[in-house]
Subunit: 140 residues, 2 copies
DNA sequence: TTTATGTAGTTGTATAATACATTTATATGT
DNA sequence: ACATATAAATGTATTATACAACTACATAAA
């Protein structure tokens, strides 16, 4: 078993290095932070910075700046939480929705090209295992 | 097929976000850059900054600073290339070897814990598919 | 052989993402 | 009512990165 773990460890380190390079070089409409934040808001409904920060293991201050940037670009609107005067909800705008879909299409196309010679089984399995791995993380 | 690609795309974005958070918070002896650089030198022999920068898709200047840091910590030594007066080789020191092994052990232990409830087959398959994915990258 | 061009590496500078500390406004518990 | 806790914003520092300018050496062209 140790050999498999070592492989995963090494390949993950390399993967992060490579993918970070790619996504740093501004690939698509939205950067990774924006893409994930908008995706989270889309998938799980409106949310405040605290919840978003927890989801992505980032400091609240970081997410606060990121959501401010998204608001300035018109991708989200910020509405006060009627039940808590300190809190806000961010919601996707139509433009945010459009940018999200566009970015997802671009990213998906890119990945699709990379995996064009893979079998369906391999693609499906990689997706499953990555999803499982990410879910494993949730409970640490 | 598009659904599988979408899944991979989304899970990769999330994975990078999470793993970046973890490895930023200085996990283990070496940070990710140092770990990968030392690993590359160990696996493929001594190398100059240009080769290392290409391997990791980083700017030469970035790698130059990183190797300088490694040299100052005593993990590598820099020797002039006898065949090219402009170039240098970096080689692992014993201390670098030790730090590399220690970090690998720490990282492997962490991953092992995360995957403790996975089956052997799942672990082996994830390793294979990640390796294949990384190799796919190499030719882009 | 001299001169022009190319290349390995370093250093200067700017930028972006991040964390931690502080602050403000509001909530909650004693 | 007062003390403490919390959501978010803002100030500040750090870090990783890229790009540009530079230095020293190499190679090709005249």
């Amino acid at each position: 078993m140790n050999k498999e773990i070592s492989t995963i460890e090494l390949e993950l380190a390399l993967l992060i290095r490579r993918l970070t390079s790619i996504s740093t070089r501004k690939f698509g409409t939205l950067d990774r932070s924006a893409y994930l934040l908008l995706g989270q808001i889309q998938a799980h409904g409106s949310a405040g910075v605290k919840a978003l920060a927890e989801e992505f293991r980032l400091d609240i201050s970081t997410v606060s700046r990121q959501t401010t940037a998204l608001e300035q670009k018109g991708y989200v609107i910020k509405t006060p939480d009627p039940e808590d005067g300190r809190a806000y909800f961010y919601q996707l705008t139509d433009e945010g929705q459009r940018a999200l879909e566009e970015t997802q299409a671009q990213r998906t196309e890119r990945i699709g090209l990379l995996l064009k010679d893979w079998t369906d089984e391999e693609r499906a399995r990689l997706g499953e295992l990555l999803a499982k791995f990410n879910r494993t993380y949730l409970d640490d």
